[in-house]
Symmetry: C2
Amino acid sequence: MAAKTRPKSDAPDASDRVSRIREGVTAAILEHRLLPGTKLGEDEIGEIYGASRTLVRTALQQLAHEGIVNIEKNRGAFVARPTPADAREVFEARRLIEPTIIDHAIDAVSPAWLGRLGEHLAEERGAELRGDARASVRLSGEFHKLVAEMSGHSIYLGFLKELIARSSLIILLYRRHGTPACGTDHHAGIVAAIRKRDREAARAQMLSHLDEIEAELSLKDPAADELRLADVLGA
Amino acid sequence: MAAKTRPKSDAPDASDRVSRIREGVTAAILEHRLLPGTKLGEDEIGEIYGASRTLVRTALQQLAHEGIVNIEKNRGAFVARPTPADAREVFEARRLIEPTIIDHAIDAVSPAWLGRLGEHLAEERGAELRGDARASVRLSGEFHKLVAEMSGHSIYLGFLKELIARSSLIILLYRRHGTPACGTDHHAGIVAAIRKRDREAARAQMLSHLDEIEAELSLKDPAADELRLADVLGA
DNA sequence: ACAGGCGAAACTTTATACAATCCGCGCCTG
DNA sequence: CAGGCGCGGATTGTATAAAGTTTCGCCTGT
């Protein structure tokens, strides 16, 4: 009777109110509707979702563990504000993990998966065409998660979810120019390589995709609006 | 016992009681005092640590997020029971991440770090010599965490903590023969390579170390015994 | 006028009480 | 005698209330 716990603990449990709160806030962050540093008051969120603070609190704790929310003792929860050092770490980790994920995904390639990938690309293009920046940002991240799901490697998937969420905050904070469509074309190229089962091409394209995203960031100084004294003073 | 311990005059780590519970349970799992499948009742743990269910619950939720505890709705929390598939995923992830961590650790090599590594090796040897299997298991995992701390890469450190904790459960469940001291000699070899700043040797030794650990596993179902919490957590 | 301190309000944190759910056991029934 | 039904105990999920901490405004003293 080794654990058959997989089907329950995963996403589809939408009846769970904690999950609904968590996913709602996560979506807001991933779509750049919630900016880094925003205070997430328990009463406030509870009011929105019609839940008591107890549930809101557990949701916020989960988000804190995922690294997209900071909980400061006796002060409350805030949308995380990754530092440039964090950003470099996140992208380094992605460059390490995602090529491996691609490799596993190619092992699992099937008409059904290719169909889902194609659908997703279409959604991305649609959002881009109608200029829906929020949907574009969200779908761009979901593409990477979709490939991770395809790989069937649940640990990599968990890690990547965390990295994607943080990447979204990082891009919001440090992107140089306006949104140059975080690479729908790149995604299409990656899918093409997956379809051809060309591992080397897929891995190379994923790497250059990540490099390009990171290259669009200016990781010199934290957000221009406010410098943290603690960083400057080395405390 | 809920002694009225004053928060102020107590030890510094007593300020966060949730952490104390989490670390206590984690240590018990890492030292193989808590077996997979063991039920972790909220009242039971709360009694042991003198905390109310609220705090116990948040600690258990954090542990669930780390993958070493399963929470089943309306049923309670149990020590996780990784499947053979989980085991393969964990070790694959470790083989991917740990060589990279070693690389970063070599960048950060310094007398202070070498001192800590040497100290740790001495502790491991001491535990092994006096036949303290529990301490050996714990220290063996902490060695890998120490290298990750040394790398200064906080994301890798977080990932690795999770992988180490799960590895401990996996080794307990699937190890073939008695404890062959999970490689204190290997650790010494890795430290030597780090000291010489020999990246290739360090990475190779880390890889073969992980391979050897995994080779000692037989990935079939274990026999689950049940254990009394109070005996094992004697706080 | 300004620095410093007192005090109230708002918030988080913790504890406790209540409701919902599940499991086990005994009884009834076919 | 076997199998299903229902009740009781126990445990978890949720909400609410009490306690502690921080923050901000106001007031006073220099």
